[in-house]
Amino acid sequence: MSLTLINVLAAVIIAIAFVAANAAYLVWAERKGAGFIQRRPGPTENGPWGLLQPPVDGIKLMTKQLLIPGGVDKIIFVIAPVLAMFPSIVSFVTIPFSDTIVAHNINIGLLMIFVFGSMSAMAILMGGWSSRNKYSMISSVRAVSQAVAYEIPMLITAITVVMIAGSLDLMEIVHKQSGGFWHWNIWPFQKGLFNILMPASFLIFFICSLAETNRAPFDLGEAESELVAGYHTEYSSMGFGLFFMGEYANIVIGACLTTILFLGGWDCPFGLFPGVWWFIVKIYILIFTFIWIRWTFPRTTIYSLLNLSWKVLIPISLFNLLLTAGLLKVF
């Protein structure tokens, strides 16, 4: 009992470190990537290729004054960033990086990640509302309507995969896909069925994870041209830092989930040397795609964003769900 407790604690600490490191260097990668795409150098001053920029930023954030503006709802204002950060860390506890590298595999791991993912909407709402600022308020309403809209197709797509794998256990889902890239859920042939919509499912899931993490082109919540900085306008210092880290942690989680559900997890594309490195490679390719998309697509508008979810993604994913269920039943 106490041993598992220590294990979990250690896992949480490692998860925090992983999240923090990722957040820091993803910012760097983002800026470098943006620079590359926009044909400019990006950060260069601190260290070689600006590699020391993240720790410097971190120190700056941490040493700044934690300003609580007058008129905010103090309790909620303080809780919100913590609530934004906390679920992401907990989610990492169940994500299997390989057969052995997993903090605490539970048999409803997928569900747990979605559960904690759904909490972030609450954090955004709390942060935006408690700031008592028009822009924050509008931003949080936008962000949440978006999160709610995109959670539905995401869950439905995930359910499709769960039906194919027959388990909510992330390990199990990966095991079902092992043995080469042609076994991955992204392809239309699964378990002897020919489900033409699986690639579409993958795309839906990917789009939804973009939207769920408030990334461009779906970053209506922090549309800086209209809403200053969105729901974290009033936050300074680490309050802002936590929101920021939470966001990047969510990106990593989104990439991990996409990898596990559709890209075979740590499975090697050619059936050789499966292991954690493949997982890492896959998630960073996905994360790079996130960055790539951010700097190449313009921001959409809130209505087209919601229309996309309710009128396109949800019907397709529902249809795929029914199709998969039918195929599984028939064959």
Binding site: I79, I106, I108
Partner: protein
């Protein structure tokens, strides 16, 4: 036999107590908050406590679904509605009788003491584990023993959607 606090049982009991306290505190906040949004947050805290109790009672799946549905959907929908409606702050404007506080306190205490003595006086049958609470068992139960309830719930939900649409469709008639 007296159980010590730091034995396994004691810790488990502590966990249970913690969940209970979270639930009750959340409920109190939800009832007494002056701002509606705070009340929603109290509700969220309460739900977390309830989910904790489910988890404690060996039903992790139910606990997860409770959080997913009640915090991820219900609480978010409620706060969404509140923000769209932009209600006046400070809801408690109506005059309340000076007696309402003491009367409420007394009746609450009576109720609590009644429930506590009820719980203490009853010889509860020892707890039996009906099933392992896994997803599979729940699925089987839903499609066998409780299949009718399962189907009826879908009608209830459909009804709720239709009802909301019908009531909201015409807008407010003034």
């Amino acid at each position: 036999m007296m159980k010590t606090l730091f034995s396994a049982d004691g810790l488990v009991g502590l966990l249970f107590l913690f969940n209970l306290i979270v639930t009750v505190v959340g409920g109190i906040v939800a009832c007494n908050a002056e701002r509606l949004v705070r009340a929603v947050i109290g509700l969220v805290v309460c739900f977390v406590g309830v989910a904790g109790i489910y988890f404690f009672l060996n039903s992790p799946f139910i606990a997860m679904m409770h959080i997913l549905i009640y915090i991820g959907a219900v609480a978010v929908a409620i706060s969404f509605a509140i923000m769209l409606a932009a209600p006046e702050e400070k809801m408690r404007t109506g005059p309340t009788s000076p007696l309402s506080g003491p009367i409420g306190l007394i009746s609450t205490l009576l109720l609590i003491s009644g429930l506590v003595s009820l719980a203490l006086k009853t010889e509860w049958t020892s707890v039996t584990k009906i099933n392992d609470g896994s997803v599979k068992t729940i699925g089987i139960q839903l499609l066998t023993n409780h299949s009718m309830v399962f189907e009826l719930i879908s009608i209830v939900l459909l009804l709720a959607i239709l009802g909301a649409l019908v009531i909201a469709r015409g807008g407010r008639e003034e």
